[in-house]
Symmetry: C3
Subunit: 414 residues, 3 copies
Amino acid sequence: MDALFTTNNLWMMMATILVFIMHLGFATLETGLTQSKNTVNILFKNATVLPIGLLTYVLWGFNLMYPGEAFAGGFFGFAGFGLSLPDGANDGGYNEAYTYYTDFLFQAMFAATAATIVSGAVAERVKLNSFLVFTLIYVGLCYPIVGMWKWGGGFLNTLEIPFYDFAGSTLVHSVGGWAALAGVMLLGARRGKYIDGKIRAIPGHSMPFATVGVFLLWFGWYGFNGGSVLSADPGLVSLVFVTTTLAAAAGAIGALITSLIVIKSNDLTMVLNGILGGLVGITAGADQMGATDAILIGLIAGALVVCAVVFFDRIRIDDPVGAISVHLVCGVWGTLAVGLFGALASGAQIISQLIGIVSVGVFCFATALLIFYVLKITLGIRVSREEETEGLDIGEHKMRAYPDLHKNVEEVYS
Amino acid sequence: MDALFTTNNLWMMMATILVFIMHLGFATLETGLTQSKNTVNILFKNATVLPIGLLTYVLWGFNLMYPGEAFAGGFFGFAGFGLSLPDGANDGGYNEAYTYYTDFLFQAMFAATAATIVSGAVAERVKLNSFLVFTLIYVGLCYPIVGMWKWGGGFLNTLEIPFYDFAGSTLVHSVGGWAALAGVMLLGARRGKYIDGKIRAIPGHSMPFATVGVFLLWFGWYGFNGGSVLSADPGLVSLVFVTTTLAAAAGAIGALITSLIVIKSNDLTMVLNGILGGLVGITAGADQMGATDAILIGLIAGALVVCAVVFFDRIRIDDPVGAISVHLVCGVWGTLAVGLFGALASGAQIISQLIGIVSVGVFCFATALLIFYVLKITLGIRVSREEETEGLDIGEHKMRAYPDLHKNVEEVYS
Amino acid sequence: MDALFTTNNLWMMMATILVFIMHLGFATLETGLTQSKNTVNILFKNATVLPIGLLTYVLWGFNLMYPGEAFAGGFFGFAGFGLSLPDGANDGGYNEAYTYYTDFLFQAMFAATAATIVSGAVAERVKLNSFLVFTLIYVGLCYPIVGMWKWGGGFLNTLEIPFYDFAGSTLVHSVGGWAALAGVMLLGARRGKYIDGKIRAIPGHSMPFATVGVFLLWFGWYGFNGGSVLSADPGLVSLVFVTTTLAAAAGAIGALITSLIVIKSNDLTMVLNGILGGLVGITAGADQMGATDAILIGLIAGALVVCAVVFFDRIRIDDPVGAISVHLVCGVWGTLAVGLFGALASGAQIISQLIGIVSVGVFCFATALLIFYVLKITLGIRVSREEETEGLDIGEHKMRAYPDLHKNVEEVYS
């Protein structure tokens, strides 16, 4: 019993730091898929969003997401500021699989993810200060409130057929995706993206970093999904590892085939986003699927990502890294898939999944739109035309990401 | 018992994801040691080879490598398509240390390694489609069949003195290395590598990514070797960690000293390949050696890598990343070392090791040569002269890895 | 009991490889914060310092740091060369939480850290050979001797109120920091850093690699601090994870606010070094603090880093990566903080902490100064003016880190 508790807690701690390393994955992916003149800005956002997410979560977020009996309602609850370690909670009395501190930290690592997803979509033109204020509010308030609806015992968990979202296709990925959509709609496209009715590609500046990002995200996802078992249960965790792996692999192949058909190219960024799409897609039901289900969910997710990227480009939703396609589209897909494949598949489950998708979507899209709108009419959310052309690195940070390279080029030109 | 099972299974799952991250190590190493005009192509291969390896392994590879009693023979066996979870297999009835799914996934992560090793050696001139077809066949069929000879209970395991290959110096690394040699022989050298009887260095474009790759491979190797204990047995796994570490460290020093003598230079790529050589060298006997054995095996492996790189260059085997020197030469060395050092050292063991090395070598080299030859006379295996000069990124993918950099340079020239 | 031992040992092995990956973090951080003409040299140092540290530690370092009863004195002890596995030590008889080999390897991974810290501070002008000789002596002798004073049972551990340094704010980080200070003082500033009484910024060449480095260090720090619990004790390790995380996050915010005030800029490198400062600061007392303590220690560490970087620049201590500010200043701060915050806070503890800080500081600074001085008057410690201008990559290694980029620029100029 003591040994089993120690093992379970060890896995939850390992899962926690695997989720941590996903933030490096997001940072390098976003860096790779954008232009080098905005790289410092992107790294700066990633290096500050995680600390903001962690600190707001310890100050109030954890008690907002898991209010317990304090104020517990279906839509909102709050158990007070700061951490309040119950007696003996850190010696096994809190839970049969992990300590209070482990619980807090695992959940805290998830929190910043939502804002990080947004960061990619609004990159290369959003004002730094406004984005950090948005992060503070959205990660500090919206994310934990919505998470409570299901994971904190709220109304989505008490439906007759409860809404099911194992590790957060809806509660994490679509929460980020909806805000990304809202942000992009209010910000508008990057200058030069749509000229004379034509779509112009603005390629990312480093495919190696983009690839590093995707592999690190895949690596960390074993903690994201595997840790969501909330114990080291051998059967369940190994099943989740297998479904997660196969969905990612199938996502790559689905995106590869689809991009050969649709855009007739061996497109690396599509394969990379296909992997991520497969991962987001399996997240809602990773513990409910068999190997075949996981492969099908991943294949479809990979195909969806390619189509969604093309679609959003056509309707002039300019998302430099494809965050909306990956996290929102595949987040919705993965959530629905719980009703279509695996152990929970049923018509009634599909209804519950739709209730969850829609209620989270309406709340998140509306609040994100409101926050960004208020910021737009106060601080402003978009950098000046000159700053955007020159790059946010100089405008916001007075630094360059690769001074050697930029210096050489400048000297050559002058 | 339940707790011990959970701990053992946890370690096997952690080892699995450590082997996963080796694929990022291979991707960044190969990226760093080749030219920037071929980087997208290299990343694309790495991002698709792993999914292909995983999916073929779930579809038939696992049952080809571990056929159990079904069709079990010394040379070939097959237990049917797909995964067939035995009753209770995922709750402890399958094995005393891990579940069926854990077993599958740990083995699946190894499978793609063989093709990834080949990828580096044939880089910068191989046709993408042909390489992916090769991967499908070689990883899907050759790797599991050869692996079965020893790990699946085949004829190498039933020798009077059984062939010994703890984690795959022969069964993984030389399997990749033999195919790399076959591929390079059929492809020929890169244009400009040998001019007027002289060897011209074609340096890799990013030493930081090459270094990242080696450190990630070293990191992942703790899972590759440590997981091959097949439990979390404290004494054995910690011994394997120590021998693995010391062989890697000694490989660096062996390569450093040798390169100072042979090429009279503090050559970073030699030290990096020396680390990898030490790791490959210890892999066959990591659980059978003491600290001194491990250091000696690593030192010799590091020296061998430097000499082999120079040797293959002289005989015009053009291997951009040194994959043949690292994985084939040190794979053979490590396999032989089991008969020379440590607990199994004996003349009879050396004979068994030679039987394993030769039988695997003949089969792998011949089949790889056959596959590449058939591809050569059908799809073709080498890109055009123009495409090779311009780079495979444009030719195969219509993308550049660093558009900012390449754009600047192009503008400067035009 | 057997299961618990296996779990504890598993965590210690995982912690070991997390400390291993910190060496990749140091390598990429130092690469990112220096100029591209010195990148090969920096990677070479990082790829050889770790092997040197591991091999000297197995040859004599471990028995110097943990002499047991052999020669045991308060200031010096030695238990003989090589590893001497006690009977049954690798099967549970050695310790109730881990094997002999695990103990050795966890400690060995720490050893090279001290020299790696120095590497950053003396970068871009130190002679390679002299630096490697320094590493051999400092890591091989000074680090284990000082470590013994506390962790090996020496005089700092037998004070009436024992000096407390949980995971090495003083014994690892300040040991590196003092030598960095000594090295920089004897070497002098880089050419062009101080011209006509003005401080000129020499920006690092890759902000992405610098950021990768900091995230990898943060990731590895969970092993550095968490492993220092010396078991997988759920309450203690999860507490250490929480304090480590919150100090890092608060370090980022502390540095952000301070740099906005002091240098009026959203400076990425300050935020990155603030994270590291927070991590170094919490290291001495990570198991003694609550969440609030950790946040305060981190905030102050982050502020200190910014002020220290500005201060050392003013007094012309040219430290390209800020290693002295991070590891020495925050190492001292974190050690003092044990007497100011948390469970051990008391006046008497502060005195003991000061005794530890000063005795380690005097010994390390003096020996480092002596080693560097002897090297200066024999081999020389600084490269020539020409080599420094052209870059150490050509001078010491006859290679470039990014040949594609450099070639283009050269061709453009010629």
